[in-house]
Symmetry: D2
Subunit: 345 residues, 4 copies
């Protein structure tokens, strides 16, 4: 009779709900194998529910006659939570550990445009101390008239750069039909902000062995983001890195509003590594350094930064790319704050 | 020498920008075939740019030394704009016209769960006056533990219901690999809010002949939404219906905030039909009727409403589904307001 | 021992909270005269609390060691709730009833600029069917360089217009030091969006007899708005009208996003009349008519509309003012939808 | 003929605007002493306007027939901008410099509750290295049933604590009628988030000599915030400190979303010092340390932190108060990051 689990849902009946309506809810709870704690108040009856939280939370309680609202007490995700695993996950990206005190610096061009552009960027960021290369071959763009990426040719260039400079690389996958292609090249597979809730893509990535970087959706809550990570994790791929990249607010001075609080909040809720993208958050070159320093002080488990040898000719997001020389200067700043924080770069 | 087009972009130089920096911008404009109108002020130089707006707006002006910001004057979309086509588009959905004064009532269950559930819903909404059936076979869900739809079996049931009740139907496609499957069954293909910026999917849908209903992203601006429609349109499919379904705000009393102003704003900017989804906007049964009436008064070109014979057993979004009897009552209200508005149901 | 009231708060302990921490919370609850229902789960202890909700909800439970979060079950406001009074409040504005099926049309210039401007507006809106005049003498403006209103001279002109055209009028009060002045002239006192949380001003207005119109703050939740109304009500003034005027979102195509769902949500939570301001919501002349119709279909208890004889010379918000002739046309539309809704104008 | 100034506004005419409509705009510009640069495009006429930006931007251009929109090119504020003063302002708070590389640590209880509570807090934060004391005597509270502060008695206690511990203090003023009272006691006058747009209060504070700390409104844009600062500055009080305290977004895991990007953005736009309030941003004790570190790394010009000897008995915001021992530990962290940043505490 005793249900297994915690009180995971509170059902608040309307003032004036009839005893038949209350009975009806209790019957359905019993059918679902849940235990109910009923509190009859002066105006309202409140029911605390113990049982399998995922099963219980999904039933449409607010559709029941007499129910005012159903308030979840426990989070709807499981494997990615600190409750499930208390120690920090450390994700291995082509030999580079990310998380658990290992701070990763990922840098390179937003999109691969040419061999020369990629190699100049990679050489520079390697020399300055970055350990993972970024560069995309497939770009989802707001306008259909924008450059959409070099496709497989871009991945080939990235693989060449990996050999040349000894850095694993991260690249975005946009289409579930490209998962096999991208995973055959890249060391870390990125899911972009527009695809955070592309559950088809997430499930595919859960069924292959390369680690996954999951960017937060423009307006995803932290809870929805962790649910998206759960899609990957539950399919068997436990190598997931979260990437905060700014959320949409009413403020127009920045492209997005970096939600730096998400870093400590996630550290409380989840064991997954969390990195920050200062480039796409602010959307402006002059904001990259302050936001990168901020990420170290939070501290996040890494940063990912757009570097371009000639931002004014960039085909994608040139306004936020910094020059190789600016990146070298930024590495000095990152190192200083990281040292103050006791982090190993 | 004279550029073809309108002044489509304003480049504002920083206070103190050097004449070399200004010259550099002008040179690049000349290379891009654009004409520049330079206004040298007391503190700042401002450059008005005439030329191909899509080409010009995409260059990363804010990455140029000395540039403070670049302000677009004209919209970045083209085919879906009123400037391109002044008269309203009317989309044919299996014989039912939508737009241009034809108000469509689309109704049915959120997800197809069984033959019985679908047919009871379809029969009821048909009897009450709905002209297009809704019902999904593929459901993108926030939690990986939620019901994800019946797949092709669901589409078969929908096709059966179409025959039985004489109503074309709309169904969602989630995965670009399913486009051929879904379009082989459905009369109107829906792109859900999570996929509004799934440009791969949009482009695929632009290359097939069935009309497309494009829901607004949770936090898409109206401009981004029209850009997404442009993805479909420019591939050759001109049969696009927009669907407002609420945006994400700080308000928690409703699931989303219905942005009813988007209807008249879109009517000014675009020739495409616009419908409203009162069910997913508010997320609560008691809000469906007020929000549906509001849509008629805007006026939108239609509404899409979740109806379920037994909301409390619904596998998806039961809290917002109304009963067949409530739908019949709502049709009376819709008809009254539509008549006041001079619309034909 | 038995606490009086409903289960109004749920305290969720952290996984791993000690028995001392739980005991400490229970001791404090006992001191506060509350009854506790303890549910010990597999991972967490959850405590349902019965007692005086206002007293209990205000204690800083999340500051207690071992507490993860405290979830309010009941709303924090009392007198303005439907639970407190089930029938609709009807507010008398200088002889004009608002609420309970009486739909009010309030119209006039945003700010009083001159006798001629006010009288031309008042005459026109009266002729077209408005029953309450609007016009402000004190204007809170975003920029210190903008026109701030005529002050008492403006109130005198409004009082003259009331005599001349037989319409009571509404005017804003901005400063608590002006409450006596404004209430000595106006029939309905408006609290603007920037002052919704000016609790000093609200309390002052609660201690005088004229009815109060409380606009929603730019980013107030519905719950905060009702709390603000409670400030007025609890001081003894029960004549409160709520005015929805748009909230701040990421959308930039409109000045604000009209949250039309707030109307039915408020009708569920509160007995107070709710009106809509289509002019300040959209901020554009062409949106006034659609948003006014929408307000009638919700239905709200009234609309308030900016009308100006010469919008292009308006000192405040000219972009959203409609002409007297446009207002007359709008009245026809409002009447048609109101008739369909069974409302009396 | 030549207007004095910069091109500060762009007026975009509608496609199809008549030559009369364009002429009418140009006439009005001429009347206003502005110079117009007309660009006639294939579809639209665009007019660049040179003249007094404040006068020009305030005219209701969007109310003119044929005008599609008016796009401001320059910011609407003046004295608080970097254009007006290029070097950082340094504000003197009772002998403590804030800004220009001087990092201020302000700490103490949210509200003054008793002599014992205040003195225990003040002694502890002084010992740990804070240089300015915080504590409020007037508290604007969301609920009318919450503690509203001790009033003048609280100010007396703060003045006593100043003597005892040798720290100047900051206190909030809520009501313009209390400006004289509060300024007679406090060293720094705070305007709270709910009053950022209380222009009456701002103007009063501009006409007295004590420095002012202006918190950002819940949903104020950075531009509106600077406009509010301009209200104080233009009345003659140049001692203004800005305080970022989180903005309202859809995220519910935190009380507000700290907009850390606002710090570097403000440093670009304005010469005023900017501090951060980590306590009210996150609203949770465990977020205070990460958000304070982040503020140092930005770098802001200071932090303001709630410290309470017994958070669980706090009458205001106990959930976000940290203990004196936690504050001492935080000072160590702040010092480490400040040293890495080259800041003087």
């Amino acid at each position: 009779m005793a249900a297994n689990g915690d009180e995971s849902l509170i059902i608040v009946m309307r003032a004036g709900a009839t005893s038949e309506e209350i009975r009806h809810v209790l019957d359905r709870l019993a059918e679902a194998g849940a235990e109910a704690h009923v509190s009859e108040g002066a105006q309202r009856t409140v029911i605390g529910v113990v049982g399998d939280r995922i099963r219980i939370q999904q039933l449409p309680w607010e559709a029941f006659p007499g129910v005012e609202r159903a308030v979840p007490v426990l989070k709807p995700f499981k494997f990615v939570s600190r409750d499930f695993q208390s120690e920090d996950s450390i994700v291995d990206v082509g030999g580079i550990p990310v998380g658990g005190g290992h701070f990763a610096v990922i840098a390179g061009p937003c999109a691969v445009e040419s061999r020369d552009q990629l190699f100049r960027s990679a050489e520079a960021v390697r020399a300055a101390g970055a350990t993972i290369l970024r560069g995309d071959a497939f770009k989802p763009r707001t306008s259909p008239y924008s450059f959409q990426g070099l496709g497989e040719k871009g991945l080939e260039l990235l693989a060449e750069a990996r050999e040349e400079f000894g850095m694993p690389f991260v690249a975005e996958v946009v289409d579930p039909r490209d998962v096999e292609l991208v995973t055959s090249y890249a060391d870390l597979i990125r899911v972009g902000t527009r695809n955070m809730a592309n559950f088809t893509l997430l499930s595919e990535l859960g069924r292959q062995p390369k680690p996954v970087m999951l960017k937060r959706g423009f307006t995803a809550t932290i809870e929805e983001w962790l649910n998206a990570a759960e899609y990957v994790y539950k399919e068997g791929n436990h190598e997931v890195i979260l990437c905060e990249r700014g959320i949409r607010t009413f403020e127009t001075a920045t492209r997005n509003t970096l939600d730096i609080s998400a870093v400590p909040v996630l550290k409380g809720l989840s064991h997954l590594p969390v990195i920050v993208d200062p480039s796409h958050s602010g959307g402006k070159r002059e904001l990259v350094a302050p936001l990168a320093r901020v990420a170290v002080a939070a501290p996040a488990d890494g940063v990912m930064i757009d570097v371009h040898p000639s931002p004014e000719t960039a085909l994608v997001d040139g306004a936020q790319a910094i020059l190789p020389s600016e990146f070298a200067d930024l590495m000095t700043q990152i190192s200083a704050v990281a040292e103050a924080m006791g982090l190993s770069l």
